[in-house]
Amino acid sequence: MPRYIVSGSNNVDRIIPFEDPTKISHAIGGGVNYALTAMSLFGEDILSVSYAGLDFDRYYGDWFRDNGFSSEGIVRAFEKTYRVDLVYQENGTYVTAGTVREGSVYGRNTPNMDLLRPWLEGPELRGLHLLCHGNAVFFEQLQQYRHKGIKIGYEMEVAKKTYVDMTAFAEEVVKLVDYFSVSITEAAEIWPGVRDERDALEIFAPMGCDVFFRMGRKGAYMVSGGYAYYSPMVDEFGSIDPTGCGNSSTAAAFLSLCEGEGPMRAAQVGAVAASLAAGCHGLVPKLTPELRRRCKELADEYTERAEGGIKI
């Protein structure tokens, strides 16, 4: 039985090159898989319980097998796994297409109780990490499991037009989870008064849950009990592709907290997981024992170097 469940969107990235847009290639992605990788880097018995298309095995089969991930929690409920187009620009960056416009497919990935219920009674279960568009009613339904001691982590998908009132939702959901995460750009979208990290930290400080606040290359803060614990951006594996760094750091830091580690340590664990994600094109191809050991050593090193928390 799993010790942690991670649930969110599987999606296949269609990479459309600038030079010749007809030469389309595919890469597996999806926040849930970055999170699965990052949690498996620092923990064991992590299971993805997520919706996917009938074509899931075609795209993800080898990667799951290579990493020893179980696909028992994958429910192949619709025909085609959701695709996101990464349209590359002349300067090497890309813009995404298909996320919200194809809402009817996008929303099908969203976890619900029908998907999760069979797994939430597991005796070993410590935490459930969700990366998805949100509805407060779903988090209310999860409270019965939270009351039994299962920690709930939530990385909110921020797409303003898909919420009736995004700010109200965020303020409601932080009361229903143990752990919440957004980036600085997302925070500014949710709370229009947020101009900088200071503004955001002041909003997070009184929240009842821990907040992992991501600032891209500027690092991240773990906000806990009115204090902010800083982790710088770690660059140990190269900066090849930033895709999935936020998903990776958020998930690894959540696992660290659930395992009883302190907020400073959790922030560093998150930074190391992000660093590994940044060092690969797309998902980390294979988690080897050496890689796991190296990441734990790095987390130890950065924790040792870190200064104390800052009172907000």
């Binding site: 298309g53 009938l54 429910v75 192949r76 409920a77 619709f78 025909e79 919200v100 416009r101 194809e102 809402g103 009817s104 497919v105 996008y106 929303g107 099908r108 969203t110 619900n112 109780m113 029908d114 568009h133 509805n135 407060a136 009613v137 779903f138 339904q141 797409a159 037009k161 898909t162 919420y163 009736v164 939702f169």
Partner: protein
């Protein structure tokens, strides 16, 4: 439960050309279909993803009609909510009360997958689905049908455009299901024909029993090489009929019931039309569905078709 309706809801607001407004109207094709099933058989279950506002808007209707809420899943904070704005020339234009992105996302999040139906299938005789063209749903539903032995009705709910890409898929689903339904404009686009007769020939070739709706004229039941036509039924004078929204859905689900109960093509068609005749009497679904109404409707069927078979 003997009958299951797997679908969703959409709340409606009507804004008339004179500026008056009707809010919080119960709607959604699947919900109208459920009202048709419930009128046919009290042992009918509605399985759908809904919003937190479901109980406020639909709760009384379910309780008043002794309809089970066991299949209702609270999935989103706000149910999809459409405004239909009537223009002075009588046409109307729909738009979401929230954003179109919220609507699309909420509809997807409320979607019931075929997997979700399994707890209700042990004694099930028929399932109505208005499920679109996703083959994964139909594949799984057919798997469940083969295991549990129910009959599956597919109402061909599709975008206005039937394209060369979707046409083979529609026909594939129609071939595999036990009974299906579509309306006249859909049949013309699907088969590239321009008359009901030509469409009926195509439906006969396809072979799957079809409840074929031809708008204010009535409906055909095409099965076993026969096309039984029954004209639209009026319970009140024409001008007292209020709103045809949902007539197609409710009559289609009613046709499933009659089909599963072993009725003839004419009886199936007549029953569908009777249920639609009740649906048109008000905005929203038939408000009170009880034994008395069922009996009255059944008597009407008997009068129109002779001996009652169900």
């Amino acid at each position: 439960m003997k009958y299951v309706c797997a679908s969703g809801i959409i709340v409606n607001r009507l804004r008339f050309a004179d500026g008056s407004v009707m809010e919080d109207l119960m709607g959604g094709g699947g919900f109208f279909a459920y009202s048709g099933l419930l009128l046919s058989d009290p042992e009918s279950l509605f399985v759908a993803g809904v919003g937190r506002d479901f109980d406020r808007i639909y709760g009384d209707w379910f309780r008043r009609n002794a309809a089970s809420l066991m299949g209702v899943r609270y999935r989103v904070d706000y149910s999809p909510y459409d405004e239909l704005e009537y223009l002075p020339d009588g046409r109307w234009r729909p738009h979401s009360v929230y954003t179109e992105e919220y609507r699309a996302t909420a509809l997807a999040e409320c979607r019931v997958y075929a997997q979700d139906l399994e707890p209700y299938l042990r004694d099930c005789k028929g399932i109505y689905s208005g499920s679109g063209l996703d083959l994964a749903y139909h594949k799984k539903l057919m798997e469940l049908r083969d295991r549990y032995g129910f009959k599956a009705m597919w109402e061909c709910v599709i975008d206005p455009s039937i394209t060369d890409e979707t046409r083979p898929r529609i026909l594939e689903i129609a071939r595999e299901t036990d009974i299906w339904s579509l309306n006249r404009p859909e049949s013309f686009r699907l088969f590239g024909v321009d008359s009901e007769q030509a469409a009926i020939e195509k439906l006969m070739e396809l072979g799957t029993p079809c409840y074929y709706r031809v708008g204010s004229r009535g409906a055909y039941m095409v099965m076993n090489g026969e096309a039984a036509f029954v004209p639209v039924i009026h319970l009140v004078p024409n001008e007292q009929e209020i709103d045809p929204t949902g007539c197609g859905n409710s009559s289609t689900a009613a046709a499933l019931w009659a089909f599963c109960e072993g009725m003839s093509a004419k009886e199936i068609c007549t029953w569908g039309n009777i249920v639609a005749a009740y649906n048109v009497l008000q905005f929203g679904p038939t408000p009170v569905i009880n034994r008395e109404l069922r009996q009255r409707a059944m008597n009407l069927l008997r009068e129109m078709c002779g001996e009652k078979k169900a």
